[in-house]
Symmetry: C2
Subunit: 406 residues, 2 copies
């Protein structure tokens, strides 16, 4: 396999760091930018990474020691010239864009958080478009979310455009989307802006709609059977930054009841961190044709939120000898709690992709990894509770109301 | 008719000022905010208002003299607290939001203009949402554009949602849109953000998709038969800010060839300034139900760009005795030059609305009004040319290439 120059925007993050390890291990040239904002924004709302994060200089050194060369600069991609200058200097073959505010509750905290999310995500993507617009040979991979589609009552097409009929006439239109938070809407706006950029400048794009990611490790962090602590990626635990599997796993380790919003019938397409990195590697190695806009639905397993809680409770009981309760709490979000869900998924299988990890197995390594940091996790236990209500924003005071059992 | 408190965002602009005159004349309480940015952004690209604009203090005084009381403050609605504080102070019945960067070529000049347009338009609307979210009794009228829909091969529904079918299953989805410039995309993003805000907070919204507006006067500027110069609204003349009818009328007055992009088959739904103000008055007087999201397609006549040039040439010949040439120039935009176009239009007629002005008549008053300022207009003649190309942005140097006849 030919090696590539890959630029990772958001290299300091959960998926960005894991992907950097993978690409470095496979001999690709790894470049990265990050403004480290997730480090501070998680602390702003009471959280932090479950595993202590090395400083940037430590990360560079550990990477060089175990993986290979890396260029990792600290900067904000929404600032003028940052991306344009860096990209024209290194001339990457592929750029993968993770560098966005990525939590729904954080975007719903209040007006300033909504504004920040719109600004950071939309403007970063516009700057990326202008940095590559004259270089269709660069493959841009944009990380979006399955949440852009909402939960429609029809199968979710895996393509940029779809046929729409109205009163006997028809045309191709962008695949309909209806997001459930400001965060998710910024991803919809990004996708639309990229569709337009593709039309005007012929930019080559893979727009990835990914489901929630779970997992505390990838094989690239291992030395034989044991994990190299310094290579770990961040794992968020709090209400805003911790995603449903990871956060409930933290609560299980802490002996807290697992939280299910409303009836818990909300179904999503999940993917392990290992599988996410595998899929991204395949997409990078197999770019679309120059000028093509490729859409990928990247998830592996469909689960309801309730089913996830049950899996975590089962594994916790088996591992640690106690069974966490499951609390059904008032749903702070505006979403359907029972619905049809059937997204199409063909591009990755066609590229030879095969799922390697399954939640029912992976949950054991997640719980074991977290258990090792139980004392550290105790600091955040309060902040794993529900704090942000879609209608009223964040209220650290009324949290006891929010977690009252239904 | 009961009088209302109406807050106009963008009161210093082309439509905003004309609407203020109308509402004031009808005895409504008029409040307005504007940061005066169009005044300077038009100059940035070589233009200005065809009619000299009074200062804000002059405008306030003239308004008070001829129309009635007014509160007109100078501020930027994208700044924190500006809208929230003002709205909670005055408690308006209706807010009409014009305060956005409103030109497609300006948004396509380069990266910084794209970023500015995204920032200004999206964040202003988010701030408006937060300022009214707890007040569904306030009727928010948001000015969007027919350009949000693009030129689809099907009739354009006049509603927020429409039925979409895929592989035998169906659901309601937002009416599909595909815009043709960053400017137009910000309006799509705004509409989506408003749909979400309506769902979460039940904000009462009229989302108006308006066609290009033409006209140099409204009846509210008249004292008997003669116009009160100080009451005139701004009219833009340059490539970026001048819309197709108004700008070609300026060129006709200056004896320059009228410009048609490509084949000129691009069809749009036009509306006179007088009719736009009439329609807005009706929509303000007839709000939707509390919590409703109403979509209005606001245009009166369908014309191709080529047909408009012919109408202007005919009227110029009749009025001034010379016939301007029509130049077909390379289309700087990415758009279809021949296409189906049939937007639905039912809401306004159902509210008793009737068209009062027709382009073929109105063009005479436009040309006569502009002719009076012929010497002033000469300053801008250079800047009425094509300067911004969708692919390459603005280039003041290669304009001669751009206006070369096909
Ligand atoms: N984690 C998931 O479950 C999941 C699921 C679907 C999609 N995604 C998407 O994948 C991407 C990565 O997610 P993650 O979980 O790794 O999030 P993360 O927050 O851990 O990583 C994002 C990184 O981008 C950086 N960043 C943000 N704004 C920046 C800016 N303006 N300039 C430079 N760097 C900036 C942050 O500091 C952070 O290190 C995001 O776009 C997210 O929306 C994540
Ligand atoms: N003129 C048309 O043909 C037309 C057609 C369809 C839709 N529209 C829409 O109607 C609205 C008004 O158009 P117009 O022709 O009167 O434009 P305009 O530029 O003359 O008026 C807009 C006004 O808003 C102000 N403004 C912009 N950003 C602001 C901010 N952040 N804070 C405070 N004030 C701000 C400007 O200074 C300006 O006075 C726009 O939203 C436009 O997109 C116009």
């Amino acid at each position: 396999m030919e090696t590539k120059k890959v630029l990772i925007l958001g290299i300091d993050g959960y998926i960005g760091w894991a992907l950097a390890l993978r690409l470095g291990k496979k001999g690709h040239e790894v470049y990265g930018i990050d403004n480290l904002i997730t480090r501070v924004q998680a602390m702003e709302v009471g959280g932090d990474s479950a595993f202590p994060l090395p400083s940037v200089e430590e990360r560079r050194n550990i990477f060089k020691e175990y993986i290979g060369p890396i260029d990792f600069i600290v900067n904000d991609i929404t600032k003028p010239y940052v991306l344009r200058d860096y990209i024209s200097k290194i001339k990457p073959d592929a750029i993968i864009h993770f560098a966005e505010q990525r939590t729904a509750p954080y975007s719903m905290i209040d007006e300033e958080h909504a504004i920040y999310t719109m600004h950071n995500n939309i403007e970063g993507t516009i700057r990326l478009i202008y940095a590559v617009k004259d270089n269709p040979e660069i493959h841009v991979l944009k990380m979006g979310t399955m949440g852009e589609y909402g939960t429609p009552n029809y199968d979710i097409p895996e393509s940029p455009y779809v046929k729409f009929e109205y009163k006997g006439k028809s045309d191709m239109v962008p695949v309909p989307k209806f997001a459930g938070s400001w965060y998710h809407w910024t991803k919809v706006h990004d996708s639309h802006n990229l569709l337009f950029a593709n039309k005007v400048w012929g930019i080559t794009i893979t727009d990835i709609n990914q489901g929630p990611v779970y997992g505390t490790r990838t094989t690239d962090m291992l030395d034989g059977d044991s994990i190299i602590e310094g290579l770990r990626t961040r794992i968020d635990v709090d209400e805003a930054w911790g995603t449903v599997v990871n956060r409930n796993a933290v609560r299980a380790v802490l002996g807290l009841p697992l939280l299910v919003y409303g009836k818990g019938g909300q179904t999503r397409g999940f993917i392990s961190l290992e599988d996410s990195v595998n899929a991204l590697e395949i997409l990078i190695n197999n770019p679309p044709k120059e000028g093509e806009f490729r859409v990928v639905n990247q998830f592996m397993e469909l689960y309801s939120v309730e089913k996830i809680a049950t899996l975590i409770a089962d594994a916790t009981e088996e591992l640690f000898g106690y069974r966490p309760k499951i609390h059904y709490v008032r749903n702070p979000r505006i979403e359907k709690e029972e619905h049809y869900y059937n997204p199409e998924r063909k591009i990755l299988p066609d590229l030879g992709y095969k799922q390697k990890r399954f939640l029912k197995d992976e949950i054991y390594s997640i719980l074991t990894d977290l258990y090792q940091y139980k004392d550290r996790l105790k600091n955040f236990s309060e902040w794993t509770n529900v704090k942000t209500d879609w209608k009223n924003g964040r209220n650290d005071k009324n949290r006891f109301d929010l977690i009252k059992e239904l």
